[in-house]
Symmetry: none
Subunit: 383 residues, 4 copies
């Protein structure tokens, strides 16, 4: 897979291509629509590339399997949709606490519960942030087209390895199932972040939770030359449990800060016509396709409208949103939920910003026509 190739694929396949490009070598999962194609494709592709594929007995086991495999030095992935994502929350919290690099794809469908299978939604955005118990930080990326699905999948692995963190790839059913062109770049075209392994030699004390000066925590393949403790409890630099308030507070801040203090590095987004935009749309995932269509369409008519397409949802790029939208007369967040990002945008912009939600949440992709109708309503002009 070293030469640049162009394919006509589903978004789920673009995700698979990205994962393989990034060096994926272990996948565990349990099928659930609309993410199943990721699993199906990897069942064939991953072994053929020398990786390991395993279908587990359930969603929880899948999450636990990737955590274990990651600890042994593998780049790991699991894929699911909402119900499976809920089941994985407890183990996901373990990965946060034990700082295990892993990538979890949630191809969103309508919820709550079994919900609206194989119909699009973006209702798990806040769950990606708050689904597991206890204060923590998380990284969640998304994409609106297959080239970006590919790029964000590679980036998800890079971030997971850089920050020793689970990274959630929040796709949605439309992006997952839609087919469009994908160009897989030649090997090396996108830099890959490899596991930072400790330089501590065998027999020398290895501190799995002692950060280097740059904040990164070198790892040692579990089961390899070093013996060390890994726990979901608050722990010290050796990985041993501690309820010492200073240790507890230090670790919780470390878990938060390693993500939030790097929000500017993690903030991926695209802008369209923002320079003089009086109305700014903010959108992401498949909704951003419609938002982009509206933007180009109204621009052609001379309207001062622009689009900020978020690719990083968490940590929420508050500063970037404030910078890009500060001059807008109104900001309209286009998403397919009750306003998860809208709430964050509103908080980021503060007054006198006028922030509106243009949403749809009935399992149908929000269309340019929907967005235009919302814009009309917001402008006081009715449907």
């Amino acid at each position: 897979m070293t030469a640049k190739t162009t394919k006509f694929v589903q978004g789920n396949e673009a995700c698979v291509e990205g994962a393989l490009y990034a060096g994926l070598d272990f996948f565990a999962g349990y099928p659930i629509t609309p993410s199943t194609e990721i699993m199906e494709l990897l069942a064939r592709r991953l072994p053929a590339n020398g990786g390991k594929f395993i279908q587990m007995e359930d969603e929880i086991a899948s999450m636990c399997a990737v955590i274990g495999a990651s600890l042994t030095g593998r780049k790991v992935l699991t894929a699911t949709s909402g119900p499976g994502f809920s089941l994985k929350q407890e183990a996901l919290g373990f990965a946060v606490m034990a700082e295990i690099p892993c990538v979890i794809v949630n191809v969103q469908r309508g919820g709550p519960s079994t919900g609206n299978p194989t119909h699009v939604a973006q209702g798990d955005v806040n769950q990606a942030r708050w689904g597991t118990h206890g204060d923590h930080a998380i990284v969640a990326l998304t994409a609106s087209n297959h080239q970006d699905v590919f790029a964000m999948t590679v980036e998800a692995f890079n971030i997971a390895e850089t920050y020793r963190t689970p990274v959630i790839l929040l796709l949605d059913e439309v992006v997952g199932h839609m087919r469009e062109r994908l160009t897989v770049p030649e090997a090396g075209a996108i830099p890959l972040v490899e596991r930072l392994r400790t330089s501590v030699r065998k027999g020398v004390d290895y501190h799995p939770y002692l950060p280097r000066d740059d904040g990164r925590l070198p790892m040692s393949d579990f089961g390899g030359v070093h013996r060390y403790n890994v726990t979901g409890l608050f722990h010290d630099m050796w990985g041993f449990p501690s309820d010492n308030p200073g240790v507890v507070h230090g670790l919780i801040r470390h878990l938060m800060d390693k993500i939030e203090n790097n929000a500017h590095r993690l903030a991926h987004y695209k802008t369209y016509h923002l320079q003089d935009a009086e109305t700014v749309l903010i959108s992401y995932g498949s909704a951003a396709r419609s938002a982009l269509h509206v933007t180009e369409n109204l621009r052609a008519r001379g309207e001062r409208i622009g689009l900020m397409e978020l690719q990083t949802l968490w940590p929420f790029p508050a500063e970037q949103v404030a910078r890009e939208c500060g001059h807008a007369k109104q900001v309209v967040v286009v998403e397919m939920n009750t306003g998860h990002m809208c709430q964050m945008v509103r908080a980021a912009l503060g007054p006198p910003a006028r922030v509106f939600l243009a949403n749809r949440m009935d399992g149908v992709l929000i269309t340019p026509t929907d967005i235009k109708a919302h814009l009309r309503l917001i402008a006081g002009r009715g449907v």
Copy 2:
């Protein structure tokens, strides 16, 4: 248990007393500290009162058991702490979707993951709101003292039955384990809401999801005279699955609106010295004990300080907060997390309100001294 009695109990026992008073007749659970005493006490008390107690094989099974029992007409309870609460999220979403009355106690400890067992935290507040996938609404109550734990437990059952919804009782380790006096009122002193059963007779078509004029959905004990469908999928008034966009949107709005449109009815809180307060503390749970201490202490010194103690966390009582705090020069939210309620208060008050967070999250109860130090810092007077 008809006469008024006074006891010296743990908060967990106050919760048990409240549940029994409310008419609990089924409990399923799996032990986890700091909630275990609820289970232990009910193992003895519930069968003695004619109810059923069952220890399940895990947290998920416990949640499923209470859902099933509720459908058959029982008032049901389960109790857990953070890790168990994460595991229950998927089934909790089913209860939301299928509109199953049930009460889930989460006696919070430090997280994420295994975290800081048997040390206090309030880090699961946002998870209570967003832990399960898909857009939905939820009710979450809390309390800072045993009399209120009792009252809020009764209220949790009343709300669950009134709105056919899971209700989360978000206690914390300090409240759960602390001992203080509890007066259990005589039977009848607190009105109880009983299951609204359908008046539709056997052999007549029963619509399990057809609301009455007042919005309530009469239930029929599952396994009884009516056969009907219950599903986690979006569904119509017969309970049969539907992906019709109108049905999906209608149900998601119903699930949201039945809670959020009744926010004023669900909003429980206490106020102390708010009438002329220039500084308003907002707090809840065990943190509110310290906040109340500070308030009374500084009032005695003539400072214009007041306290709004929240007992309903979700739906967030935005209007009530705005009304009670609108006149304050500054609002200080006292909680033991990264600012879950603080974010909501900030959004509710809007500018020019100055909203500060006075928090602690190292497993130690935030003290009056901590809060006073925060107040000095906020005032520019250093610690």
Copy 3:
């Protein structure tokens, strides 16, 4: 028909009852849905009451017939829907110019053109104002329920006689076809304005267009004791044509001022909960039924919402709207068109008023749910 009676009727029948109560004695029309029941009922009722009923060959002839009959001293009515209303515009302008008292009912259906027969719309509001050529003023009333249809029909006749003007009764399909209770008051309960006839005797010069001190123009039954000229041309006090600029300007101002200077007397509207309303809905016709439902519903939840229901559309009650809504944070005009009244409200309120349009125009009655969805969108909270 002297005793008070209660009936269960369609809105079209309420209109008929009102017309008969007001003293209708001539009807000419051509059937068009959804107004046809007015004609059908009058075919039987009017002759039975001593009046004349005639079905004409078309809409234009019907308008001309009522104009002629009115000149002879009759209280006249015609009824139609949009396409017929368009056809009547030229003759309607004659009635404006020649100052002929008459009442024209337009039971609105969807337009333009043949449009959407027997489905509701409110798309003819601006046409009622501007449908005939040349500057002029007009009176247009509407109603949302059958008691008000009755009352506004009586008022239409009273206004027509008082001001010698056509009065348009702009009903809509839902109001016209819906059945609800109507109480017809006993004779005399509502004061009736009778034709002001000249006291000038036979043989004495009668000036048909010479106003009295109070601005009213006494009439003489055409074909009776006085001979005089009636024309659609600009004319002097004798009714003779004139292109003298002073006469032209004087007449155009007279035609405008007799209506617009009495806007406060002509302004009929109802208010609900406006005293402390932060959100004011403005609506009319069947849309106001939904708006009222929303108002009462949200009030019950504690929201500061109110409703101003317009019964007079033209002359637009700008001062009344400004007075009643001046304190509102936002005004939402609920109507089933592209915003005919919304535009007037916006102009009446001026900045910093925030005026929004909550509309629907697909032939389906705007529902409380629609309005609530609009309110959510306007508030930035999405659907």
Copy 4:
């Protein structure tokens, strides 16, 4: 008629020249002053050019005839004045609904009703917008001199064909009857838009109301190779009637959007000395001749005054007005009616713009002296 020629003509003749240049090949009409010369001239010129001329029995028949002829593939025109324009409103709505290209000239005289024949007025501006029932959009152009009458007539045909819409040419008696020089350009100097005919072949399903990607609807000459339905009812892409709410809303929005979304393309106007103007006059038609005179006159004196002459009245060029007049200290709308465009300008500019109306409506052309008197009054300097 291929060489450039210069003539000394009435405005009505300039209109005829424009229509012939644009490729007119069918005219139907009924004579009414002050538009009659258009008909008289075409009775001779059109047959000589290979076109068809027909005098119909009345105004309604004329409008219907041009609609029918247009459907068979002809470029069509009718001409009238106010009373005839009122009579045509019903059929005009059919042309709007069925999307029939046609041009209707209204050479305005004083109204309402028979009004003030052969005296100037601009009182039909709002009727052009709202004269037919039901929500719709319309294009209305005007001109103040013969060269522009010619150009706007050609443009009217181009717009009618491009957007499949009736286009109203709102001239007035002064422009229609005044004589001045007209240069008819050589053939080809002004690009013409020809009927877009479908490329669908005989025997293949033709969808008369299915837009291409660019929004245009290819036509098939009625009576030719395709059979299809044309109706004034709301209809689907085959032209068959539908009361499906989605179809109704979709069509009404299509009818609105094809015009209003192209407002910037349709916006024709001229500017004079606007760059530093503190006082901006806005005018159109013959009134603009006086406004231009005042502008040049006061400029010569050093006053910072400018003129925006509107040629497109509907869709009202709100953005263009806002852009051109945004810097003005005061805007004075010069027109011969009660302020039809003034109301639109006021809405377009919003505060703190100070918008004044300088009008006259007695059948006499507003003069430079009239306008200057208005300007003094506005400045507080008396007449």
